[in-house]
C-alpha cells in the first residue's frame, strides 16, 4: 500500500488505539455523523465532549494522530500485509451485512479473490480421533466442490480444515485473534505461510502488536461465521468457543451444519445440542448441498466423480477387516475380537490396506474406512 485514503487513515488510526473496541469506533463515528473525514478534522476540537472514551485513549489518539500513518505503512510493508476498511469496495460483501461488522481488516494474502461460496469449518482444539477424521473427510468433500474453507487457524479441527483445503487446492481463509504480525499458536507458522502462498488469506481485525487475548477469540468468531454461507461444526464441547461461533452464525442468519456424535462423548455434546436446536444434521457433503442453493449445480459433478470403491483386488481377510470397519472407528483390539483374525495379521494387513488407500489410521491405534 502506497498511501491511505482519508477513510482508511481514520479507521486505522482509531483501531490502533489499544482498548478501543469495534463498538466504540461505531459510537465515535455516529458522534461525527458517520463521516470519517469529519471525525479526522474535528477530533481535537470535540475531544472534551467524548465522555464515552477513556481519557487515556483520547490522549493516545491525540498524540499519535500525526505519526501513526508512517509507522503503519512501514509495518504493513514489512509484513507484506494490507488493510481493508468497511468503506472499501473490496471489503467482503457478506461480512458487511453482519451486525458489528469489523471496520477494518488487516490482511495477508488476497482476500479480494475469495469469492463464491464459503463454508466455515470449526471444532474443538482437542478433538477426538473421530472429530479429526470427520473434519478431514467433510472438508475434503466440500473442497472438491471448489468451495472456500474459512476457519480460525487454531490447533485441532481448525488446522485440519486448513490443511485439507490446501491439499485439495481450494482457497482458505484463516481468521486470527491477534495482530497480523503475531503467529498464534506458534506450531502453525508454516500453515500461515502456506495459506498465503496458496492464494488464500489470513485476516484479523486487531491492530499490530495485539496479543492473542482470550476475549479476542470470542469476537473473532463472528468474522468466521460472517465470511461464510454456512458453518460446519465438527465437534464441540458444551460452553465452548465453537458454540459461540455457531451462535454468531445463527444471529447472522447463516446455515448451521452439525456433525452428530456419540451421546457419551464430551466432544459431541455441543454438536448434538445444536442438532436438537435445529441445526442441519450433517453426515456427508450432500447435506450441505441440500441447504445451500448455489451448491446444487455442483452436485451433479460430485455424483459423477463418485466412483464406487472396488474391493475386487482384496483377499478374504482384508475384506473381513473392511466390513468390520463399516460399522465405525475401531481399534486393533476390537477388530481382532470381531473378525477373529490374529493380531499380527491384522496389523500387517492394516498397513497394506492403508497404503492401498482403503483405510486410514487415526491416533490411538484406531482405524477407519477412508
Amino acid at each position: 500500500m502506497e498511501k491511505l485514503n482519508i477513510n482508511q487513515k481514520t479507521i486505522a488510526w482509531l483501531n490502533s488505539a489499544n482498548g478501543i473496541s469495534n463498538r466504540k469506533i461505531e459510537k465515535l463515528l455516529e458522534y461525527f455523523n458517520v463521516n470519517p473525514k469529519e471525525l479526522w478534522d474535528n477530533f481535537e476540537s470535540e475531544k472534551h465532549n467524548l465522555s464515552f472514551l477513556k481519557p487515556e485513549i483520547i490522549d493516545y489518539l491525540t498524540k499519535s494522530k500525526n505519526t501513526f500513518e508512517e509507522k503503519l505503512l512501514i509495518r504493513l510493508k514489512n509484513e507484506e500485509a494490507n488493510i481493508i476498511t468497511v468503506y472499501d469496495n473490496c471489503y467482503p460483501e457478506k461480512l458487511k451485512q453482519i451486525s458489528y461488522a469489523p471496520y477494518i481488516l488487516y490482511c495477508k494474502g488476497n482476500l479480494r479473490e475469495i469469492d463464491g461460496i464459503s463454508i466455515a469449518v470449526v471444532g474443538s482444539r482437542k478433538a477426538t480421533a473421530y472429530g479429526k477424521w470427520a473434519a478431514e473427510k467433510l472438508t475434503g468433500e466440500i473442497s472438491e466442490l471448489g468451495v472456500n474453507i474459512i476457519s480460525g487457524l487454531a490447533v485441532g479441527i481448525d488446522t485440519i480444515a486448513h490443511k485439507t483445503a490446501l491439499k485439495y487446492k481450494t482457497k482458505t481463509v484463516g481468521v486470527i485473534g491477534c495482530g497480523i504480525d503475531k503467529v498464534y499458536p506458534k506450531t502453525n507458522e508454516n500453515l500461515y505461510k502456506e495459506i498465503v502462498q496458496s492464494g488464500g488469506a489470513v485476516i484479523t481485525e486487531y491492530p499490530f502488536g495485539m496479543q492473542p487475548l482470550p476475549s479476542n477469540f470470542h469476537d473473532r468468531n463472528r468474522i468466521i461465521s460472517g465470511l461464510s454461507d454456512g458453518v460446519l461444526v465438527i465437534e464441540a464441547q458444551e460452553r465452548s468457543g465453537t458454540l459461540i461461533t455457531a451462535g454468531h452464525a445463527a444471529d447472522q442468519g447463516r446455515e448451521i451444519f452439525a456433525v452428530p456424535g456419540n451421546i457419551n462423548s464430551l466432544f459431541s455434546k455441543g454438536t448434538n445440542a445444536l442438532i436438537k436446536d435445529g441445526a442441519k444434521i450433517t453426515t456427508s457433503v450432500d447435506d450441505i448441498i441440500e441447504e445451500i442453493m448455489e451448491l446444487k449445480n455442483f452436485r451433479d459433478m460430485a455424483i459423477n466423480n463418485q466412483s464406487t470403491t472396488n474391493y475386487d483386488c482384496l483377499g478374504y481377510d482384508e475384506i473381513k477387516i473392511i466390513s468390520c470397519l463399516k460399522s465405525g472407528i475401531k481399534d486393533v483390539n476390537e477388530i481382532c475380537e470381531e473378525t477373529g483374525i490374529d493380531t499380527s495379521a491384522i496389523l500387517s494387513l492394516a498397513t497394506l490396506l492403508e497404503i492401498k488407500g482403503f483405510i486410514k489410521q487415526l491416533s490411538g491405534n484406531k482405524f477407519v474406512l477412508s
Binding site: K132, S265, S268, T343, S344, S363, G364, N365
Partner: protein, 508 residues
C-alpha cells in the same frame, strides 16, 4: 613373629589380592594398621580386639603392626577384619601352622567372635579364582551366593573359634557347593501374563520386543495396563544362563542387595521412580556402586511416565544403551559396570492423560502438551525400536472369563526366536536383533523387491520419518524369527510399520 594372610578388596566388580602382614614386636603395647586403610578398616582394630577377647584368646601385649600390601592401593571394606584377627593369632602362634599361600580369607567380625556377612562376596570369590587361589574362607551367611563357583574350595565359617580349630586341624569344614538346579522360573514369579485381560495388540508388541530385546515405548491413557504388562515382561524372557546369573548376582552382591540368598535366577525388573537422581540411575558415589542401569542388567529397566524424568537423568541412559555397560569416573579411579537391559518406557498422551479420550475431558493447554511430548524427542526416541499406542481396557474385557495365554506359552515362542538369533549371530558378538548395527542390518535383514516397494510407499504415504527405516527392518527381523521364517517377508515389514506410532504425522 611375623605372619602373612591373603585377603581381597574390591574395585568396582573386580577383586584384588591383598597381603595382610602382621608383626608382633617388643616395646610399648600398641596396635596400628598401615597401607592406606579407610575408616572401616581403621575401626576394625576395636572389633578385632573385642572379638579375640570374647572368643577366649588373649590379645597379645606387644607392639602390633599390620601392613596391608601393596601399600599404594587404597583399601576399603570390613572384610579385612577376619584376616587381621587371623594374622594376629598366627603371629602369636595360636594358629600353629602358617596359613598357606593359596588360601584367601574374607569376613567381618562381630564383637562376640561371630563372622558377619560382607557385601560383594561373590565377585571376590570369582576374582580370587582367577588369581589361582585354591581355597577361600567366607562368612557362613555368604555361602549360598558363593557356593556355586566351581574350581575353588569355598569354606563357610561361623566364628573365629571354628576357623582357628579348622586351621589347627581339630575340626574339618567341607567346602560348600550350592546346587544350580535348572530353575522352574515361571513358578517363582508371582505374576503371569494370563492376568492381563484383552489388549491383544499391546501383548503382541511386548512379545516382539521381548523376543528381539527391543526397547519399547507404551503410550496411552491411565488405566490401559501399561505398568501391569511391563511388570510381567521378565516372566516371558528366557531364563538366565549360569554365566548371566553369576554376572547379575555379582552386581547385587556388591550392592548388598542379596539378603543371604543364592544366585539370582530371575531376570531383574527395576522400576526407578522419576525423582531418581542421575547418580542413582548411572551408579556412582565416592566409592562407586552400581546404579539402576546395572541393577537391571540382563533384565528390564522400566521407566514409568518417562516425560516426568529430568532430561539429565534420561541422558545418562544413552551410553549404556549403546555399549551395554557404563563407565563411571571418580577421583578413586574409573569403574565399569555391565548394563545390558531392555528398556520399557511408558507415557501418557498429555500431562493429564486424557487427550483424545471421548469420555474424559483433557485439562491440559496446548503448550503443556507440546512441552510434555517434547521431552522425549530426539536421541532417546532413536533408541526405541517399538512405539505403540494402547487404548484403555474395556469393562467387558475385565469381566471376561475367557482364558488368556499364560507367560509359559509366550515364553516358549520367545525362547525359540532367541535360539534362531543366537545361531545366526554366532561369532560376531551379538545375541539379539536389537543389537544389529547398520552394517549388519544390510547383511542380515535383506528384503525382497516387493517389500522395498512397500517400504517406499509407507514412507511416502504414511509420513514415516527416515530414522524409522532401520528400526522397521530390525523389528521385522524379529517378527520373522518368531514365525521361524528364514527371510523377511512383506507381511513382516507391514506389521513392523505399525510399531512406529510416534513417527506418524497425525500424532502432532
Amino acid at each position: 613373629m611375623l605372619s602373612k594372610i591373603k585377603t581381597c578388596v574390591l574395585y568396582g566388580l573386580e577383586g584384588y589380592g591383598v597381603d595382610v602382614e602382621t608383626d608382633l614386636s617388643g616395646g610399648l603395647p600398641s596396635f596400628s594398621i598401615v597401607g592406606l586403610p579407610d575408616i572401616s578398616i581403621k575401626e576394625s582394630k576395636e572389633r578385632v580386639r573385642s572379638a579375640l577377647k570374647n572368643s577366649g584368646y588373649s590379645f597379645p601385649v606387644s607392639r602390633i603392626t599390620v601392613n596391608l600390601a601393596p601399600a599404594n592401593l587404597k583399601k576399603e571394606g570390613s572384610q579385612i577384619d577376619l584376616p587381621i584377627a587371623i594374622g594376629i593369632l598366627s603371629a602369636n602362634k595360636v594358629i600353629e601352622k602358617n596359613v598357606d599361600e593359596g588360601t584367601c580369607i574374607i569376613g567381618e567380625l562381630s564383637l562376640d567372635g561371630k563372622i558377619n556377612a560382607v557385601d560383594g562376596a561373590l565377585p571376590m570369590v570369582i576374582s580370587m579364582l582367577s588369581n589361582n587361589f585354591k581355597r577361600i574362607i567366607i562368612p557362613e551367611d555368604n555361602k549360598e551366593e558363593c557356593g556355586s563357583v566351581n574350581g575353588i574350595d569355598v569354606i563357610p565359617v561361623e566364628s573365629i573359634r571354628d576357623l582357628v580349630n579348622y586351621f589347627n586341624g581339630y575340626i574339618d569344614i567341607e567346602p560348600y557347593i550350592a546346587s544350580y538346579a535348572p530353575s522352574q522360573s515361571i513358578e517363582i514369579f508371582q505374576e503371569d501374563f494370563s492376568e492381563i485381560k484383552g489388549q491383544p495388540a499391546m501383548k503382541r508388541a511386548v512379545e516382539i520386543a521381548a523376543a528381539g530385546m527391543h526397547n519399547i515405548l507404551l503410550l496411552g491413557s491411565p488405566g490401559s495396563g501399561k505398568t501391569m504388562i511391563a511388570r510381567r515382561i521378565p516372566t516371558i524372557l528366557p531364563d538366565l544362563t549360569f554365566e548371566e546369573s553369576l554376572e547379575v548376582t555379582k552386581i547385587y552382591s556388591i550392592s548388598g542387595m542379596l539378603n543371604n540368598k543364592g544366585l539370582i535366577r530371575q531376570r531383574p525388573f527395576r522400576s526407578p521412580h522419576h525423582t531418581s537422581s542421575r547418580v542413582s540411575m548411572a551408579g556412582g558415589g565416592s566409592k562407586p556402586s552400581p546404579g539402576e542401569v546395572s541393577l537391571a542388567h540382563y533384565g528390564v529397566l522400566f521407566l514409568d511416565e518417562i516425560p516426568e524424568f529430568p532430561k539429565n537423568v534420561i541422558e545418562v541412559l544413552r551410553q549404556p544403551m549403546e555399549d551395554g555397560n557404563i563407565s563411571i569416573s571418580r577421583a578413586n579411579g574409573s569403574f565399569t559396570f555391565p548394563a545390558k537391559f531392555m528398556m520399557v518406557a511408558s507415557m501418557n498422551p498429555c500431562p493429564c492423560g486424557y487427550l483424545g479420550d471421548p469420555s474424559h475431558e483433557c485439562s491440559c493447554s496446548q503448550s503443556q502438551i507440546d512441552r510434555y511430548l517434547g521431552k522425549i524427542s530426539g536421541p532417546l526416541l532413536n533408541r526405541i525400536d517399538i512405539q505403540i499406542e494402547v487404548s484403555p481396557v474395556k469393562y467387558e474385557d475385565l469381566n471376561n472369563e475367557r482364558t488368556e495365554e499364560s507367560s509359559r506359552e509366550i515364553k516358549e515362542r520367545i525362547v525359540e526366536a532367541r535360539k534362531i538369533q543366537q545361531e545366526r549371530y554366532r561369532g560376531i558378538g551379538i545375541i539379539t536383533n536389537s543389537e544389529l548395527s547398520s552394517r549388519y542390518i544390510t547383511k542380515f535383514c535383506k528384503i525382497n523387491r516387493e517389500s522395498q516397494i512397500l517400504l517406499k510407499d509407507a514412507f511416502e504415504r504414511l509420513g514415516l520419518s527416515a530414522r524409522a527405516y532401520n528400526k522397521i527392518l530390525k523389528v521385522a527381523r524379529t517378527i520373522a524369527d518368531l514365525e521361524k521364517a528364514d527371510n523377511i517377508e512383506t507381511g513382516h515389514i507391514a506389521e513392523a510399520i505399525q510399531y512406529r506410532s510416534l513417527d506418524r504425522k497425525y500424532w502432532r
